[in-house]
């Protein structure tokens, strides 16, 4: 069927994109404002960036955000992958059960997961709200996403390959690292990416489980946003730049790889 060009649709898409990017452009623009105003641009300055880098709580929050996102990503990717592989060889009933429970934190509104964890941590004596609770919570909500992105790759795997490897004398460990893992690598990588962004971006759960002055970027923005503070714009701009670069890399690198491989063939 021939598609007719309909300019009205193109205009609509452009309007939508303007709508989506307006606040982002606004944030970046006003991060360079000379004065405190969020409404009138009076001149270019890097004042808010200087202020941000001089602010200890802000730098701490950035540090916590990164360190937690990195640890949570590594742990959840390893545990999630191991679990997904184990599940693929388990009985149907175990698979279903784990899948159902795993879906709970994905399906539930974040706030429900958050209050559940709040009560869990409060009931354990000797655990203080802060870095540890924040990290445990982040690992908790990241693992289901890793399992979710690795499992489909395992389903398409040929089980005969693993069996062949073991028949030929490979130990289970060798079969795992040399046969299974390389084949499901794309799933593991996308799982890790999702885990990192989930952890990096999380506000609701972090807000409920943190304490004792431990803040990540989101919880800090929340406490600061009650008053006008253009340093938030500077911080946001840096986040936007990091995420944009990350997403472009994540999308462009596989494309380049594809091209290289095609050339080789």
């Amino acid at each position: 069927m021939k598609k007719k060009k309909q300019p009205i649709f193109n205009i609509y898409i452009v309007l939508m994109l303007i709508f989506f990017y307006l606040p982002i452009i606004y944030t970046i623009f006003f991060s360079f404002n000379e004065t405190k105003s969020l409404t009138h641009f009076s001149g270019f300055s890097l004042r808010w960036y200087e202020k941000m880098f001089a602010d200890r709580t802000m730098m701490e929050a950035i540090w916590y955000t990164f360190i937690i996102a990195i640890i949570a990503t590594v742990v959840s990717t390893v545990v999630g992958t191991i679990t997904a592989i184990g599940l693929s060889k388990s009985k149907r009933i175990v698979q279903n059960l784990v899948e159902q429970i795993n879906n709970l934190p994905i399906m539930n509104p974040e706030i429900v997961t958050a209050v559940g964890l709040l009560m869990l941590f409060a009931s354990i004596k000797g655990i203080e709200k802060g870095f540890v609770t924040l990290l445990l919570a982040h690992i908790m909500f990241c693992i289901p996403y890793v399992i979710l992105s690795v499992t489909p790759k395992l389903r398409t795997l040929d089980p005969n390959l693993t069996e062949a490897a073991m028949d030929l004398g490979a130990t289970p460990w060798q079969a795992l690292t040399k046969v299974i893992v390389p084949q499901i690598m794309p799933g593991i990588v996308s799982g890790a990416l999702i885990a990192f962004t989930m952890s990096f971006d999380d506000f609701v759960i972090s807000y409920f489980v943190t304490g004792n002055g431990v803040n990540n970027i989101s919880t800090l923005v929340w406490t600061m946003s009650k008053r006008i503070n253009p340093s938030i714009n500077a911080l946001s701009t840096i986040i936007i730049v990091i995420i944009t670069i990350g997403l472009i890399l994540a999308n462009v690198v596989p494309l380049l790889k594809d091209k290289k491989e095609k050339k080789r063939i």
Binding site: T27, G86, K89, I101, I111, M119, L120, V221
Partner: protein, 279 residues
């Protein structure tokens, strides 16, 4: 290959502690009276009744629902044409557009909401623009309309992506068959495209409605605390007034609504007679 089965044991233990026990906590707190120890449990349904009896809570529940329903409605109304428009582009443009829509979603919701806070001020971007053509200033920030507007902004990408996915999954040969048999494009859209994209709309509704009821950031920042929703009450009950029993009961209600919506989505998605039966 049974030796691999043991690999699930650590996670099953972790999952029981970190996912199952918190859910049990919510359940137990929800159905018991305040000040319980493990030995003496006083069961009650007062925690639930509270939300349907006390006028303050009824107000909030009604407002929550109204805001969420209006937000969802506009997300469908504005999101469907966008998804449809994207699905008609060529493949490369489609990938690019999907990436462009996904990108803002990765940027913290708080950050984007904070930007709207600045733009919607009395002397903000919109009122300045309106002033240029001699209108205004119109009160925008701290109104219910502004809350709905920012919610639409934050949640419409979910709707667009869901509808887009179901539109691209659609078998295009149906449309060709329809036009061969003499259907006008509008008829073809109404009888084929629309019903076949319904599963996408339904899962989009779930993805928009849920956060619209439970987010407490947008209502606080844009509504100025005047338009609290279910999320705000849960936040207050847990972090300010410390009434964990009532907070748990409300969380439980929320969880049940969500499970029900999810179940509905699954049913629409799997039902083979859906849409196709009518063709």
């Amino acid at each position: 290959m049974k030796q691999f089965r043991k690999m699930t044991i650590p996670y099953i233990v972790w999952m029981s502690v970190m996912i199952v026990i918190p859910m049990l906590f919510i359940f137990m707190y929800g159905i018991t009276k305040e000040g319980n120890s493990v030995v003496t449990l006083n069961f009650t349904l007062d925690n639930f009744a509270k939300f349907f009896v006390e006028p303050i809570y009824i107000d909030v529940l009604i407002r929550s629902m109204r805001i969420a329903v209006v937000t969802t409605f506009f997300c469908i109304l504005l999101g469907y044409p966008a998804a449809y428009a994207i699905s008609r582009c060529n493949e490369k443009t489609q990938t690019l557009l999907v990436l462009l829509i996904t990108l803002p979603m990765w940027i913290n919701m708080l950050v984007r909401t904070y930007a709207w806070m600045g733009m919607l001020q009395d002397d903000g971007l919109f009122n300045t623009l309106l002033g240029l053509i001699g209108i205004g200033p119109i009160k925008m920030i701290h109104t219910e309309a502004a809350v709905v507007f920012v919610m639409i902004y934050n949640f419409i990408p979910f709707m667009i992506l869901q509808i887009y996915t179901s539109l691209t999954k659609m078998d295009k040969s149906y449309l060709e068959a329809a036009s061969d048999l003499g259907a006008t494009p509008i008829q073809a859209f109404r009888k084929i495209t629309l019903p076949l994209s319904l599963p996408g709309v339904v899962s989009g509704i779930t993805l928009v409605f849920l956060p619209a009821v439970s987010t407490f950031t947008i209502t606080s920042l844009i509504g100025g605390g005047k338009f609290s929703n279910v999320g705000n009450i849960i936040e207050t009950l847990f972090l300010k007034s410390g009434d964990w029993n009532a907070g748990s009961a409300l969380s439980l209600i929320l969880a049940v609504i969500i499970m029900f919506l999810m179940y509905l989505t699954k049913k629409v998605d799997k039902d083979p007679s859906n849409g196709r039966g009518r063709i």
